[in-house]
């Protein structure tokens, strides 16, 4: 384990976070809010510590897999702590555990909140809360990769550890260029949504924060009613962009590089849209009587389906009041998640596709033990090692899920609450059902449960391994 390179990257991370914190600082200046001072102190502290950490350059800047995992895990813990400080100092969220939960929820693009009255928060902190979604969506270390001249392809180990999805690939030969392209696409899509929302008459502050929430597939709103109070047109724009941010960004790169055919032949993207369409139809058939007309039913159901499958967690209707069938579909969507290589969370469509194909292969093999069968995705053979790591992923995922569920259950709330609370955090969605439904919040849980849910959010966002490996002693050994 090369600790000095981890220290160096963490130093840069603090500087970058300090720079990002300056944005809500400007908002505080504009609205003349006192919470701005809390931001200022945090910026100064983060910048000072960051500078100290980067003064000495590490001799060896090579990242092996272990350093990649460790850097990602430590960095995310670090930014969550730093990000929580302004909430605590300003007194907006006085207890650290609550502020930490809120920040983790922000960076991991979960959108689960402990706040019951969002509107009473200072505007600058609301802005920061939404900005964490945007930063966390594409990954803060990927952002640092764009800036930092860490030479060598070993940076790929950081990107692999931070990016959502089972297979991370280079779009272009250089890791740094790949990171830049991803952020360029991200920024372009963000800009497009912002312009459309403002064009359709949304207040600038709401438009910016909601765009951040959509882009990162986070889900923090700035009104107590989440998205329900906006116009139908504005809601539709958000629906479209939620779906767009859930698409594998490689598809956008193919479109940019004029390989449009390849973009639309991507099995994962096709499956993603198929799941969305099917879910909207099923839920609409099941719930149409609850809306004034079919058009509004489709509108709200499309919004909710998009919000759940991309793990955003915005809501226009209280889906906790839906009939059981629709609620079940909703829970399925939560688990499913968006495409790999998008900003969304969950298990990821490609993972489920591969699991289904692997299952089919094993079934075939039970019938014909001598059969030679390879799993293919997009016409390419999937290596056995990928299948193996996929199965490992599912096992670890299930174990973390069950263990968390067990600990949460100690408090004695009902099973639906506990189950969906864990599902909504580990899949980075935000709202669940019952007591943690779209109109409720997570504030009532005990500190222990909140920390467990924080762990779930981080584990879910970072694809389990970096977070789990933190607890394996061998990760920290020098030899």
């Amino acid at each position: 384990m090369n600790f000095s390179v981890i220290r160096y990257v963490c130093g840069w991370l603090l500087l970058v976070v300090a720079a990002f914190l300056a944005l809500p600082g400007l908002v505080a200046l504009y609205f003349h809010e006192e919470a701005g001072f809390a931001l200022l102190w945090t910026i100064l502290a983060a910048a000072a510590v960051g500078l100290l950490l980067i003064i000495k350059k590490p001799k060896n800047k090579v990242f092996y897999a272990a350093e990649g995992f460790a850097t990602v895990a430590i960095s995310w813990l670090l930014i969550s702590v730093i990000g929580a400080i302004p909430f605590v100092i300003s007194g907006a969220i006085p207890r650290f555990v609550d502020a930490f939960f809120e920040t983790v929820s922000g960076f991991t693009t979960t959108g689960a909140s402990i706040l019951s009255d969002v509107e009473s928060m200072p505007k600058c902190l609301l802005f920061w809360r939404s900005l964490t979604h945007w930063i966390g969506g594409m990954g803060v270390l990927v952002f640092i990769l764009c800036l930092l001249p860490l030479t060598g392809g070993s940076n790929m180990n950081i990107m692999k550890a931070e990016s959502p999805g089972p297979s991370v690939s280079r779009l272009v030969p250089k890791v740094q260029s790949t990171a830049k392209i991803l952020y360029a696409i991200y920024i372009a899509l963000t800009g497009a949504e912002l312009i459309l929302l403002v064009a359709f008459g949304m207040r600038l502050f709401d438009a910016v924060t909601l765009t951040f929430g959509t882009a990162g597939t986070g889900g923090f709103g700035v009104l107590n009613t989440s998205i329900a109070s906006y116009t139908t047109a504005q809601q539709t724009i958000i629906t479209v962009f939620m779906i767009l941010f859930g698409v594998n960004f490689n598809a956008y790169f193919f479109i940019i590089s004029k390989k449009i055919g390849a973009a639309f032949k991507n099995e994962e993207v096709i499956a993603y849209f198929a799941i969305i369409a099917t879910s909207v139809i099923v839920i609409t058939l099941n719930t149409v009587h609850m809306y004034e007309n079919v058009r509004m039913a489709i509108h709200h159901n499309a919004f909710t389906v998009a919000s759940l499958i991309t793990t955003t967690g915005y809501s226009t209707v209280d889906f906790d009041k839906w009939p059981a069938l629709s609620k079940t579909v909703a829970v399925f969507l939560m688990m499913c998640g968006a495409c790999a290589g998008s900003t969304g969370g969950g298990l990821k469509v490609s993972r489920l596709l591969l699991l289904a194909k692997t299952a089919r292969k094993e079934l075939k093999r039970s019938l014909h033990p001598d059969i030679v069968w390879k799993v293919k995705l997009d016409g390419k053979v999937v290596e056995h090692s990928v299948e193996r790591s996929l199965n490992t992923y599912m096992v670890i995922y299930t174990m973390i899920f069950l263990a968390s569920l067990f600990v949460i259950s100690i408090e004695g709330y009902d099973l639906v609450t506990n189950f969906t609370a864990v599902a909504a955090t580990i899949n980075n969605i935000g709202p669940g059902l019952s007591l943690v439904g779209p109109t409720c919040n997570f504030g009532f849980f005990s500190d222990l449960s909140k920390y467990v849910l924080c762990f779930d959010m981080l584990a879910g966002r970072l694809e389990l391994l970096p977070v789990v490996l933190m607890f394996v002693p061998a990760t920290w050994k020098k030899f």
């Binding site: 090579v62 092996y64 392809g153 070993s154 180990n157 280079r170 030969p173 260029s177 290596e383």
Partner: protein, 453 residues
């Protein structure tokens, strides 16, 4: 530039690492997914699994926008096919490695007919480098510039030269030789010395001079410069075959020891002037029998690096012969220098150097190209030959004036003007049409103008 490398063996990997370091975008293709998975993480390049001669794989690798395609798979024919296909599919310059001696005399035909930009033959290059060393056994390393009119020679400073404690300037005055000390290696440190630098016994010194001047210089310090009269080659592979061919032309007697009987028969047939001996070259008895004691040089060319190293150490210890060691693996490069193995030849580096020199030259097709590039002094410095094709900030000014604007650790070693070779002094100028040799520890010089800060 966008560069595609097909074949990720040692040369492919070395090249990829060098090219990425020079900020090119590299895509590596290999048929073996396992080999790709085993590649060093640190090389910032796309790895693709597939047959490099397949057009769909080449398209996926972006052949349409590639500037250079380098085919260095294990098969000559596949390499040529890759290049031919790439030529049709895009506008990339193509470089192929072709090593089978059968094609050796036909390379020009192949190049022209198939439209291949450059054909590499690492074994032949290695053989040439070995023959240079045998021509001048006191040197550790010899590189040629300006059509062999200027040489870069590396040798070890021995006590009998009486140069210990002498500054570079005093040496120039004392010996009145027209040579330039381009670099000094002491331990792990490489210095490009100025006049005040003090020489010590044991330093490995690299000088730049014309062959005549260097002969004069070596005579005056009392170093023998005669080329060897005979050589014992252990291992009868392709390099040995090329080497024996070259040595025959230099009237150096060659004995080749080869383990494989069939190979021996083949060599006898193709090398009428060499003596072929069937046997195990690591057998001490056999070495003595074939006349190790009377050999003036021994070239260890077996396929096993360790065997070559041990053979050379043995030769150094028990005979007066000059050992030459071939090393295939590059991982422990540098470490071997401390073992005093005499001249060490790295065929893989020679290949990579040649391709790199070509790529750099291509990088600026206008302006002043890199004509030759050598990694010298334990790979810590580069010697480059530039052809100055147009006037620029560096031309028409006395070097004295350029002096303070030159990059650090950089030396203008020699200027060749209309066949005249000058070891430049302060008042000399670089002119359009000159050939200039530069020695530097700075990497990535692509143009003569890059010598300025």
């Amino acid at each position: 530039m966008n560069i595609i490398i097909i074949g990720c063996g040692k040369v492919g990997q070395t090249l990829a690492a060098m090219l990425v370091k020079e900020k090119h975008s590299v895509t590596m293709i290999d048929v073996s997914a396992e080999r790709l998975a085993g590649l060093n993480d640190d090389v910032d390049a796309i790895r693709m699994q597939g047959n490099g001669a397949s057009i769909s794989i080449q398209r996926e690798a972006g052949i349409e926008t590639a500037d250079i395609l380098i085919a260095v798979t294990g098969s000559d024919e596949l390499n040529l096919l890759c290049c031919v296909i790439a030529k049709r599919a895009g506008s990339a310059q193509t470089i192929a490695r072709v090593r089978n001696p059968v094609y050796n005399d036909e390379l020009n035909f192949i190049k022209e007919q198939m439209g291949i930009s450059m054909i590499m033959n690492p074994e032949l290059d290695a053989a040439r480098e070995i023959s240079d060393v045998l021509r001048f056994p006191s040197a550790i390393e010899i590189e040629q510039f300006a059509g062999r009119r200027v040489e870069l020679l590396k040798f070890k400073l021995l006590p009998e030269f009486n140069l210990d404690g002498v500054t570079v300037r005093d040496m120039d005055v004392r010996l009145k030789a027209n040579v330039l000390i381009a670099g000094v290696e002491r331990g792990d440190e490489v210095t490009i010395p100025d006049g005040k630098f003090v020489l010590r016994n044991g330093d490995a010194i690299t000088i730049l001079a014309t062959p005549a001047a260097s002969e004069q210089f070596f005579k005056s310090i009392g170093m023998k410069t005669n080329q060897v009269k005979n050589t014992l080659v252990i291992g009868g592979g392709t390099i040995a075959q090329y080497l024996a061919d070259i040595l025959a032309g230099m009237h150096i007697d060659a004995k080749i020891i080869e383990k494989d009987r069939e190979r021996c028969d083949y060599l006898v047939e193709h090398l009428p002037k060499a003596t072929i001996i069937h046997g195990d070259g690591t057998d001490r008895g056999l070495l003595d029998r074939v006349g190790l004691m009377g050999a003036q040089s021994v070239v260890a060319l077996t396929n096993v690096d360790e065997e070559n190293v041990i053979l050379s150490l043995y030769v150094k210890e028990h005979s007066k012969a000059k050992p030459v060691t071939k090393i295939n693996r590059l991982e422990f490069y540098g470490m071997l220098n401390k073992m005093d193995l005499g001249s060490v030849i790295y065929p893989k580096y020679i290949t990579a150097d040649h391709i790199l020199q070509y790529v750099r030259a291509l990088g600026n097709s206008i302006g002043s190209n890199v004509e030759r590039l050598y990694h010298i002094m334990n790979n810590k410095a580069e010697a480059l030959e530039f052809a100055v094709k147009e006037d620029s900030a560096v031309t028409g000014k006395p070097l004295m004036e350029l002096g303070k604007n030159l990059k650090k650790n950089l030396l203008i070693g020699c200027i060749v003007r209309q066949g005249q070779i000058m070891i430049p002094k302060g008042q000399d100028m670089i002119m359009k049409g000159d050939t200039v040799v530069v020695v530097t520890t700075q990497e990535e010089l692509g143009d003569i103008r890059d010598i300025l800060r």
